[in-house]
Amino acid sequence: MKNPELIIIGAGPGGIAAAVEAARAGVDVKILDENPKPGGRIYGQLNDGFKLLNPGFLGPDYEKGKVLLTEFDTIREKIDYLHDALVFATFENRTMAFHQAGKGQRLPFNKLILATGAYDRPVPFPGWTLPGVLTAGGAQTLVKMQRVLPGKNILFAGTGPLQLVVANQVLDGGGKVEAILEAGEINNWLKLLKGFSRNWGLLTDGLQYMRAIRKADVPLLRRHIILEARGDRQVEEAVIAEVDKDWRAIEKTRRILKVDTICLGYGLVPSVELTRLVGCQHRYAPDLGGWIPARNEDMETSVPGVFAVGDGAGVAGSAMATFEGRIAGISTAQSLGYISSEEARKRKKPYLNDMKKMGRLRDALDRISYPRPGLFELAHDDTIICRCEELTLGDIKSAIGKGTIEMNALKRMTRMGMGRCQGRMCAPAVQEIIARQTQTPAAEIEYLNQRPPTKLVPIDVLESLPGEFEIRHGW
């Protein structure tokens, strides 16, 4: 079997757009995705067994996704698409390993486009580990893809439009939403939505969501935050309060809501496990979700021939992911000699223009909804920070107090980030904890080193990997 010229990891909007552009130019493309169907989180399709009778509940994303997925379909015979294929490692000499159907396989790569997406920002606060506390994305997956309500009395807490979308899907499915807490200023971003609605239909959607929530009489509490989840074996109540502009609780406004489910939507964190493993340089961009790979205007990272697109390279939503994917796809086609630089420039132009327009809006939205300091001060000393290894804020503070102020040293000292989730659920918070304890800007704190496997794989899968692997220097 001949090795593909271009490998793409992730079949969400960014990965699909890249595959379409590259394949259209004649590039031999292989795309690997860990899900059973293409589309990623946002354009994901129902599992076999479900029959879609009316796509209304899937929202405007469904129609946009359908256009892209149809484009993917029309050029599919030129693309080698592997589903249920989890890439869990990259090694020296441009080789990767993936797991599919119980078997490990290795694959050399030349050009590589990483479109790995993002996940809900983990925000530790007292009680956040109780059953019944879900991420907004997790709740959305349940409602949208599985058609199951996450609970009976649901509280949403977070910031930005995503939680409004999910709350709407819950209401549409006949669920009960007790309240929606927006830590920031809704009025600000509503004004923004209005200002940009002429250019961007997706933002008028936001207004529709607001209207539906008002119609259902769900209290939408601006400048409110969740302080604590309480319950014996699962969530029974939530302690909430009004916050100031830094998202710090105003104590006298503290009150209790009886709920059995809490959905947290504090924005997304880019999945940079693979860009880190490949050795790309990263920079800290809190307005784009945290650590992101540095890229040039072709979406190429600091590692030649390795590109990164979509939310995994900085959270900016599905439209931006599609534009970036197309640009990376066209760029790889040019560098492989399939199209001239003149042709590449011509093909990229409309997407570059779209991105420029989108960029202005992003800047404005980011200023309004990115996390304020109070969000990182909710945990108490006995609150679990690292869920896998069951380490509390007190444990981490005491290690820092003994001089362990570097994230990788902290990992070795305490086992923080060594568990099943590989630091995904604790590292973003730990970075902020170290910043506070040591009075250091978060951007100056080096992030966790990434090691394979990026996700758990059964030991026999590792055993079945053919050949030997050399791991990258510096591990």
Binding site: G49, F50, Y119, P131, T135, T141, P150, Q234, L456
Partner: protein, 104 residues
């Protein structure tokens, strides 16, 4: 129709079947993940932690956090949100790290 948290609007579900959760039968439908079937039935605790013996359940829903892991057909640390329910599947609430069945 049983009183559960399933949404029936706008979709049609496939074949219904039973799975077993700590010895108790629970209904699931073709195409559902184990986590979805559990949530629909109001079963929220999937495991107890190794150190603090605290209950945990489905959290991220996309296979990253491992909050939803259970022992499925004898295999511990299996993510219920990433596992499709199959007829006759046997689930156990995982206690701590749980013992593996030794296969000779």
């Amino acid at each position: 129709m049983t009183q559960d948290l399933r949404i029936w609007k706008d979709v049609q579900r496939g074949q219904a079947f039973e799975i077993e959760v700590d010895g108790v039968p629970v209904v699931a439908y073709e195409g559902e993940t184990v986590a979805a079937a559990l949530m629909a039935a109001g079963i929220r605790t999937t495991n107890k932690t190794a150190v603090g013996d605290e209950p945990r359940g489905i959290c991220c829903g996309i296979g990253l956090c491992y909050g939803c892991m259970m022992v499925i057909d004898g295999v511990p640390n299996t993510r219920t949100c990433q596992t499709l329910a199959r007829p006759g599947m046997r689930l156990e609430t995982q206690k701590g790290l749980q013992r593996w069945e030794v296969v000779e």
